[in-house]
């Protein structure tokens, strides 16, 4: 069966293991992991950005986490939890933990870096206008932090969605099913279809984030393509260029 035939086969578009269902399950795991990461990372990031405490430790941990291989961590958590956790949760919990570990560092870094990058003059102006500390955080620093925070959330979401395929390795559903089952059955159309669906999902999310960023970030902060540093050729350099050529 060719790739196109696989996609056109109505049997692959319905039922508990059809394409819409697997995308749904994939997005469900991703959403759970993202929600937990936000719940944990945004308040912590605000605290670090506000107080300036613990920045070095967080940066170190984020680097160390990058070196830890996700697949190894997933299997390790599974082996550790399998005697303790009952039923289906033994597959779900390690998956979500691994995804959260991937997603926390970018959101955390984005949040505290965003808050620290808030224009000091804007903060001072707000203080001068009689804003309380909490009001400054809520109405000045957080909106200013939004672009960096969003870019953290974006890279977290993409990492989660790409990596949620490993859920299938533990036997759960999701888009990884097509890839791993296709591999096991030597069905390359199914494998490629799974890969294309996964890549398409990631690309659509990336584009969606760009669009959302344009919508909710304050127009005053929209970073248009970095104002190019204009090189003004002084008469001296111009003269040298002329003589050199």
């Amino acid at each position: 069966m060719s790739l196109l035939e696989w996609f056109l086969d109505p049997a692959h578009w319905s039922g508990a293991d059809g394409i819409p269902m697997q995308i749904g399950v994939h997005l469900f795991y991703s959403a759970v992991a993202l929600a937990l990461s936000l719940l944990f990372a945004v308040p912590l990031g605000i605290y670090i950005g506000f107080t300036g405490k613990g920045e070095g430790i967080v940066a170190g941990i984020a680097n160390a986490l990058r070196a830890l291989p996700t697949l190894g961590l997933l299997v390790l958590l599974f082996l550790l939890l399998s005697p303790v956790v009952p039923g289906q949760l033994v597959y779900g919990i390690p998956t979500v933990i691994v995804l959260v570990l991937l997603a926390v560092p970018p959101i955390l870094t984005g949040t505290y870096a965003g808050i620290q990058a808030a224009d000091t003059e804007a903060v001072n102006a707000a203080r001068g206008m009689g804003y309380s500390q909490v009001q400054i955080l809520w109405f000045v620093q957080l909106p200013c932090a939004l672009p960096l925070l969003l870019s953290g959330v974006r890279s977290s979401t993409l990492q989660i969605v790409s990596t949620a395929t490993v859920a299938a390795y533990l036997g759960l559903q999701g888009l990884g099913r097509f890839i791993l089952d296709g591999r096991a059955q030597g069905d390359f159309s199914q494998m490629a279809a799974g890969a294309i669906l996964l890549a398409a999902l990631a690309l659509i999310l990336e584009l969606a984030f760009i669009a959302v960023g344009r919508l909710i970030v304050s127009p005053g902060l929209q970073r248009t393509t970095r104002a190019p540093r204009k090189i003004v050729p002084t008469t001296a350099t111009a003269a040298i260029r002329l003589t050199a050529s």
Binding site: R66, A67, L71, T165, R183, M191, L203
Partner: protein, 216 residues
């Protein structure tokens, strides 16, 4: 038990580690070689900067497992061919480094560039002898992230059966054994630290004029 397993599997562990080193180092170097001219182009032509950097970072959004599967269809290789993994990791390295190279070249102080002009350097001499060396700290920082990510991303190829350290993870899962699993994780982390330190060292070696005490 632990030592026994490692001892009796030593040749295989060595082979997997060597595979892992090769499959990380080759794509990182290839990626750097491709990213240098692309980054230079983005640096030179400010109008194409957003397009080049944007396209490069879009490549990074393609999930690794998907890329490992799609590439054989494009390249006409077999699914188990290590070339797929080499190309995939090269693509990720390019995608990370294009922006880094462009920003690194942009970070060279304008006065330095003007001084090179004034000393009569031709454009390519200025690039190779002045701008690139000055951009090394920024490029090295990007290269560290790329190589550490590559060590980790490569293990995903074990899901398709390409032998490298990730194979120890799938083996640990199938046999429900901690020893191969933990051995694999520790070797991965050790490799990541080793490559990271190597790049830091190379970066210092190549920029002897920088003060050693200044660290971020």
């Amino acid at each position: 038990m632990t030592v026994d397993w490692i001892w009796s599997n030593l040749p295989r562990i060595t082979e997997l580690t060597l595979n892992h080193i090769g499959l990380t180092v080759i794509p990182t170097i290839l990626g750097l070689i491709v990213a240098l001219p692309l980054g230079w182009w983005a640096h030179r032509s400010r109008r194409s900067y957003p397009a080049i950097v944007g396209a490069a970072s879009l490549l990074y959004t393609v999930p690794s497992l998907a890329l490992f599967v799609i590439l054989p269809q494009i390249l006409g290789t077999r699914i188990l061919d290590p070339i797929n993994v080499v190309v995939a990791l090269t693509v990720y390295t390019i995608s990370l480094l294009v922006r880094v190279v462009a920003d690194g070249l942009n970070s060279v102080p304008h006065e330095t560039v003007q001084a090179a002009d004034a000393m009569g350097y031709r454009a390519w001499q200025r690039l190779v002898l002045v701008e690139l060396p000055n951009a090394i700290p920024v490029i090295a920082a990007g290269l560290r992230i790329a190589v550490v990510s590559n060590v980790s991303i490569l293990t995903m190829a074990a899901l398709l059966g390409i032998p490298q350290l990730g194979t120890l993870f799938t083996q640990g899962f199938q046999l429900r054994l901690y020893v191969p699993l933990v051995t694999g994780i520790l070797l991965c982390v050790a490799l990541a630290i080793a490559f990271d330190s190597l790049i830091v060292w190379l970066g210092r070696l190549l920029t002897p004029w920088r003060q050693k005490t200044v660290t971020a």
